[in-house]
C-alpha cells in the first residue's frame, strides 16, 4: 500500500525560523518522509560589495555578514589578508583578538540556548538565559563600545587596547558566569521535559557527520574531535592548548542527538571562560597593531600580489575567508565560507523519520545562520526566477570558465 503523504512548507517566514529559509517536507501522519532544502532567500551580495572596497573597509562589511558572528568573520578576513600580505600580528593584539572571539562565543552559545528553549516551548528558559547573556554584551560594550558589531579587528592587529579597568570588568563577568553556569546546566541537562524532547532526537551519526563535512559543535556532538583551535592553532590559541569537546566528557557516550549538541555548547561555555582567564593572566605587553597608520597600511596592501586564506573557529564551526590581492586598491576575490554552509546538509539525515514537532528544535540544533550561509543565488535575468544548479551544471560551468580564462 502506498503511503498518502502531504507536503508542509516551512519558511521562508515561520516562527521557528529566525532568518528566511525554505524547507519543503513530505509528511506521512506526523512523520517526515522527505526533506527538501531551498536556501537563497537571504542573499545580499556582500562579497560583490566587498570587491568594490579596499580591505580595511571590507572588515566592517565582514562584521555585518551576520549579527552574531561579528567577531568571527572579521577575524578570519584579517587573517586571510595578513596571510596574503605577510603581516605579523603583535602578541598583545593576538591575545585581545582571542579574548573578543571567546566573549563572542559565550554570547552566541547563550543566545542559542535561549532560542533552543523557545523552540521547545520553554519560554521561561529563553528569558532567563537571555538575561544572563546581557552581562557578556555589557562587557563587550565596555571593551569595544558596541554590543554587537565590535569594530575592534584591524588588519595586523586590533583597534583598541584593553586597560586594567577593563581587565577587572572581564574578570567580574567570568565570575558571574561561573556562578550562573550551574543553574543553566541544571535547567538544560536535568529538566525532564527538555530531556524528553531532545534525547534520541535529530541523530547525526559520526559517519554522516564525516561524509557531509559537518563542522563545529554539530560535528563534535557526533563524536568528531574537530576544532580549528586544536587542529591548527592560531593567534593566542597556540599558547593555550585548546581541546575539542565531545559529549562523552559529560555523559560518557556519544549519541549525536540534540541533547549532545546542548551538552557540547554548555561545556564550551566553560572552556571559553577558561581561555579568557588564561589570556588575561598571560596578557603580554607591547603594541596591539602592526601598522598604526591606515594610509601606510593601505599603500602596503595595494602593492601585494597573492592569495591568502584565514580560518577561525567561530561559535558555529570553522569559518574560512579567502582573498586574492592583485596589486590593486580592491581585492580581486573575496570569498567567505560560513560554518552553516557545511552544516546545512546534516539537516537531511537528522530530520528524516522524525516528527513534525521535532522540526524546530532539530533545525535550531545546528545553530543555523542563514545570513552567513547565503552566499549565492542564481536568478534568470529575463524572468526573475530562481534557478537551481545541480552538480552537473556546476561542473559544466567550471569547464566553460576554465576554457575562457586559459589562453
Amino acid at each position: 500500500m502506498s503511503k498518502m503523504t502531504y507536503s508542509v512548507p516551512i519558511g521562508p517566514v515561520h516562527p521557528s525560523l529566525k532568518e528566511p529559509m525554505t524547507f519543503n517536507f513530505k509528511i506521512y501522519g506526523e512523520h517526515i518522509e522527505e526533506v527538501c532544502l531551498a536556501p537563497g532567500d537571504n542573499h545580499r551580495g556582500i562579497e560583490f560589495m566587498g570587491m568594490q572596497r579596499n580591505p580595511v573597509q571590507i572588515i566592517y562589511l565582514a562584521e555585518r555578514i551576520c549579527g552574531i558572528c561579528s567577531a568571527s568573520h572579521p577575524f578570519a578576513f584579517c587573517k586571510a589578508v595578513e596571510n596574503a600580505a605577510g603581516i605579523e600580528v603583535p602578541e598583545r593584539g593576538q591575545y585581545i583578538r582571542v579574548i573578543i572571539a571567546e566573549l563572542e562565543r559565550i554570547h552566541s552559545h547563550i543566545l542559542w540556548a535561549g532560542v533552543a528553549a523557545h523552540e521547545l516551548g520553554f519560554d521561561s528558559v529563553l528569558y532567563l538565559s537571555w538575561k544572563a547573556r546581557e552581562v557578556v554584551l555589557d562587557t563587550l560594550e565596555i571593551l569595544s563600545g558596541n554590543r554587537i558589531n565590535y569594530g575592534i579587528f584591524m588588519i595586523g592587529g586590533v583597534r583598541r587596547d584593553i586597560s586594567t579597568e577593563q581587565v577587572s570588568a572581564i574578570r567580574k563577568t567570568i565570575n558571574y558566569y561561573r556562578e550562573v553556569y550551574g543553574k543553566i546546566e541544571d535547567i538544560f541537562l536535568n529538566d525532564p521535559t527538555i530531556a524528553l524532547r531532545t534525547k534520541k532526537v535529530g541523530i547525526l551519526t559520526e559517519e554522516d557527520a564525516l561524509r557531509l563535512c559537518a563542522v563545529g559543535p554539530t560535528a563534535r556532538a557526533s563524536g568528531i574531535k574537530k576544532d580549528v583551535r586544536q587542529d591548527q592553532p592560531y593567534s593566542a590559541y597556540a599558547d593555550l592548548k585548546v581541546k575539542a569537546i565531545t559529549p562523552d566528557v559529560f555523559t560518557g557516550e556519544v549519541n549525536g542527538d540534540v541533547y549532545d549538541r546542548i551538552v557540547v555548547r554548555l561545556l564550551e561555555l566553560v572552556q571559553s571562560l577558561e581561555i579568557i582567564e588564561q589570556c588575561l593572566d598571560n596578557l603580554p605587553s607591547g603594541e596591539i597593531v602592526a601598522e598604526k597608520k591606515l594610509v601606510k597600511l593601505l599603500n602596503q596592501l595595494k602593492r601585494v600580489k597573492g592569495r591568502g586564506v584565514g580560518r577561525h573557529e567561530a561559535p558555529r564551526g570553522e569559518c574560512i575567508h579567502s582573498v586574492k590581492l592583485e596589486e590593486a586598491e580592491t581585492p580581486e576575490v573575496w570569498k567567505a565560507r560560513a560554518p552553516t554552509y557545511n552544516n546545512l546538509m546534516t539537516w537531511v539525515p537528522m530530520l528524516l523519520g522524525q516528527q513534525i514537532a521535532d522540526i524546530p528544535i532539530v533545525i535550531a540544533s545546528i545553530d543555523p545562520c542563514i545570513a552567513c550561509m547565503d552566499r549565492v543565488t542564481i536568478l534568470n535575468k529575463d524572468t526573475g526566477q530562481k534557478n537551481v544548479l545541480t552538480k552537473k551544471d556546476l561542473h559544466e560551468l567550471s569547464v566553460q570558465k576554465t576554457r575562457r580564462i586559459t589562453p
Binding site: 502531504y6 509528511i27 516551548g121 520553554f122 519560554d123 521561561s124 528569558y127 521535559t193 524532547r197 514537532a357
Partner: protein, 336 residues
C-alpha cells in the same frame, strides 16, 4: 402559560445574558492575571492586566480574512459554536452559594459532553481552513481529546459514585449537590488518598483541556505557527480568544466545585446578600489560586511535549493515577 412561568423564563434569559457577559469579562481578566503572573515568574514585567481586553477590541476592528480554500460558512461558524458551547457550561456552574442558573436541567455528565464541543468547533475550523498547519493542528487536537477524556471522566465518576453512597437520596451528579458536600468530608483515610490522586489527575487534565504548555501541541507556536488558529484573524480569532478565556473559567471552576467547594460567609456570621457577595468573591479568589497552580505555574515550568508523548502521558500514567484514585475511593466505601 401562566404569568409566573413567563416571569421565570424572562428571569432565566436575563440571567443568561448577565452570566455570559460576566463570564467573558472575568475570563479575560483572569487571562490578564495569568499573563502577568507568568511574566513575573519569567523575570519579565509583562503586559498590563487589561491587555486581553485591548487584544480583543483590536481584533474586533481588524479585517476578518477567510482563506480561499476554506468553506466560508463552516469557517465562520466554528468560532461561534465554540464560544456558545463554552458559555453554556457557565449556566450550570454554581458560584459560591449561588445555585446555577439551569440547576435541575442538566448535570456534570452534560458538562463533560459540552466541554468537548469547543474543541470540536476548533477541530472543524482547523480542518476547513485548508492549511496544512491547521490540518495537523486539528489532528493533534482530536488525539488530545481522546487522550484526556478518560482521566477526566474517571475523576467525575469516582466523586459522583462516592456521593451516591453517602447521600443516597440526592441527585449526586448535579453540581449543586457536589458543591454542597465537599468530598473530603465524606471519605475516610483511604478515600482521602484517593481524592488527592483524583485531584492530581484533574489538575493535569486542565492544561490539556485548555491547550496550554506542556500540552499545547495543537497550537504549538514554533512548530505549527498557531496550528488550529493559523488561518483565523479578526473577529473569528477574537471569538476563539473569548472561548479560551471562558474555558479557563469553566475548568478552574470545575476543580473548585469538585474539590474545594468551601465557603467562608458563616465564619463572619454573615447572611443574606452579604453572604452571597463574600462567598462569590471567595469563589473567585479560589479560581485565581487554582488557575495559578494548574495553568500558570505548569506552563512556565515545562517544555512543550510532542503529541505522542502527550497521548502516552494521558493514557498511561494519568489514567492509572485516576483509576488508582477510583480504586481507593471504592476501597474506602467497602472497608468502612
Amino acid at each position: 402559560m401562566t404569568a409566573t412561568s413567563l416571569f421565570v423564563i424572562i428571569g432565566k434569559i436575563m440571567g443568561a445574558i448577565i452570566i455570559a457577559f460576566l463570564g467573558v469579562v472575568i475570563g479575560l481578566f483572569y487571562k490578564g492575571i495569568d499573563r502577568k503572573l507568568a511574566a513575573r515568574m519569567q523575570a519579565r514585567v509583562g503586559p498590563p492586566i487589561r491587555q486581553p481586553f485591548l487584544d480583543f477590541f483590536k481584533l474586533m476592528i481588524k479585517e476578518n480574512i477567510v482563506p480561499q480554500n476554506a468553506v466560508p460558512w463552516i469557517f465562520n461558524g466554528a468560532p461561534i459554536l465554540s464560544l456558545v458551547t463554552s458559555i453554556t457550561i457557565l449556566f450550570y456552574l454554581p458560584v459560591g452559594n449561588i445555585p446555577p442558573l439551569l440547576s435541575g436541567y442538566g448535570d456534570i455528565i452534560l458538562i463533560i459532553y459540552l466541554l468537548t464541543l469547543p474543541a470540536v468547533g476548533m477541530i472543524i475550523g482547523g480542518f476547513v481552513s485548508g492549511s496544512p498547519y491547521a490540518s495537523v493542528g486539528a489532528q493533534r487536537e482530536m488525539v488530545m481529546m481522546m487522550s484526556y477524556e478518560l482521566p477526566l471522566v474517571t475523576t467525575v465518576i469516582a466523586l459522583g459514585w462516592k456521593l451516591s453512597q453517602v447521600y443516597p437520596q440526592s441527585n449526586v451528579f448535579s453540581l449543586a449537590t457536589m458543591n454542597a458536600h465537599p468530598i473530603w468530608e465524606s471519605v475516610g483515610p483511604f478515600g482521602f488518598i484517593g481524592a488527592i490522586l483524583l485531584f492530581f489527575a484533574l489538575a493535569i487534565v486542565t492544561p490539556g483541556e485548555l491547550s496550554k504548555i506542556p500540552f499545547d501541541a495543537p497550537e504549538a507556536e514554533t512548530e505549527l505557527a498557531g496550528g488550529l488558529l493559523v488561518e483565523y484573524s479578526g473577529r473569528n480569532l477574537a471569538l476563539f480568544e473569548l472561548t479560551d478565556a471562558v474555558k479557563m473559567i469553566v475548568m478552574t471552576s470545575l476543580t473548585v466545585i469538585l474539590f474545594f467547594p468551601y465557603n467562608i460567609a458563616h465564619l463572619f456570621a454573615l447572611n443574606g446578600v452579604f453572604a452571597f457577595i463574600i462567598d462569590s468573591l471567595f469563589f473567585f479568589v479560589k479560581l485565581v489560586l487554582v488557575m495559578f497552580f494548574e495553568v500558570t505555574f505548569i506552563r512556565v515550568a515545562a517544555a512543550r511535549l510532542k503529541i505522542d508523548q502527550v497521548s502516552y502521558a494521558y493514557w498511561v500514567p494519568i489514567s492509572l493515577i485516576g483509576l488508582l484514585g477510583l480504586t481507593f475511593i471504592v476501597l474506602d466505601t467497602i472497608i468502612v
